[in-house]
Symmetry: C2
Subunit: 244 residues, 2 copies
DNA sequence: CGCCCTTTTGAAGAAAATCAAGGGCAGTGG
DNA sequence: CCACTGCCCTTGATTTTCTTCAAAAGGGCG
């Protein structure tokens, strides 16, 4: 996946001038490949870089004392993490690669300088943070019911994948195991399986070969009570979602 | 409560110079009083102000289609909200007064200007956001079990109250109904009651007359698996918490 | 005193966890 | 080419946690 994914993500958040586009493209970026199930950022570390996903999927997570893992967010190509670096804060959670990932490491000082120079990019970083926070709230709101929570998660991921061109026509690459979906929703893999099967039997979705197929977009949206405007909170009216 | 609560909060996040202290004090602030159960900020609105709680407790919340309310965060004196204004985003959730509240409304443009002028205050705003986000993750992590979730919430609130001088000696004003605690944890008021009683019978806490008494700090911390470092993520080593 | 809000208690039912085991499928190595 | 292995998905039976419905008891306040 190209480094342009990062630029595309930023441009999905704010309009950029040609100059800003060049500035983003000129950011020094070190590429590394992280194999599946390997940590990208450790908990309690203070990253010196801002990380962006060039290809692959990753997740933020924390562990409880009993060993249970809670996934608190998914990272798709274009997403960035480690913004903590910009204000001297350590990571309260860890980030792990869910698939083999290509990661771009952007020097924190260079990123800081660009953010200070460009109000638009500054806004983009804030907006990304606000969207992440809003997403956490939606998880709290909807994960109370497993069926609704999973339906909502699938809507979220489909829309986010569509933004960076990884979903279309009701289909979307979905490289998550049911255990990972369960860890995100706070339920067991067994229960996740039963709920996913129910969604399948209800004719709303299909998941096979790491691909999500949305068979009944309206039905899925209704089951999820999904309203994607939290993913674009700067728009005044509700945008047509890729799910329409 | 004095407007200095706002300043105290910022100074708990970053060290300020005398100049910055004066700048914060000089921010134009309109005071309003919001009665209990009245909205402070509506969902989907685009606030023109940054709001800070001068006195009283408030909560962020969202409603599900079935009418269920999920509280996604508590606001204590000194806390601010509506930072969305600074990057042109609308509110994905609403804010409600849980007690009669005195609110300070800070003009968004004045706040923006101060944030741009002062790197420290800029950092303070970022740190507050990161703490809020980390808190949401902790809720996801620990609310899976009601007993642990409530124990963790009480630890969080005690520490946060202590930071602004509203808790000490194991006691803390806690103006929350059990229904509100339940809405925060995603459980019913009935179940909340049973869990709170169990914590009481276990000798960990007591709640009466809107006052939380921590009878066994170590036990409560253990039940919660509470580690307060997420509330001060810029510190390198784990700070001694007010709970010690 | 009487009213409203909050806390408390009881009993029955639903949702999800837990424990246990079987099946499919892809990759690996003989 | 086939057996083996590891990972993931699936199914069943049982137990725990939490919800729901209903109602009673306490507490503050006009």
């Amino acid at each position: 996946m190209e480094r342009t994914t990062f630029l595309a993500k930023i441009e999905s958040l704010v309009p950029l001038s040609d100059q800003e586009r060049q500035d983003v493209a000129a950011l020094p970026m070190e590429r590394v490949t992280i194999p599946r199930r390997h940590q990208i950022i450790a908990q309690n570390s203070k990253p010196d870089f801002v990380y962006t996903i060039l290809s692959g999927w990753a997740a933020r997570y924390e562990l409880r004392a009993d060993g249970a893992r809670r996934i608190t967010g998914f990272l798709l190509p274009g997403d960035f993490c480690g913004i903590h670096a910009l204000c001297g804060a350590g990571m309260d959670h860890a980030v792990i690669a869910l698939t083999d990932c290509e990661i771009g490491k952007i020097d924190e000082a260079a990123m800081s300088a660009l953010v200070e120079r460009s109000p638009a990019i500054h806004s983009a970083v804030w907006r990304a943070k606000l969207i992440e926070e809003a997403t956490l709230r939606k998880w709290l709101l909807y994960a109370a019911d497993a069926r609704q929570g999973i339906a909502h998660l699938l809507c979220e991921l489909y829309v986010r994948a569509a933004v960076v061109g990884l979903a279309a026509d009701g289909r979307c690459h979905l490289p998550l195991t049911q255990e990972e979906i369960g860890d995100a929703m706070g339920i067991t893999a067994v229960h996740t399986n039963r709920v996913v099967q129910r969604l399948r039997l209800d004719g709303l979705i299909d998941i096979a070969q790491q691909q999500l197929t949305i068979k009944d977009a309206a039905g899925l949206r209704k089951a999820a009570e999904f309203d994607g405007s939290y993913l674009e909170p700067w728009l005044d009216d509700k945008p047509p979602t890729p799910l329409d």
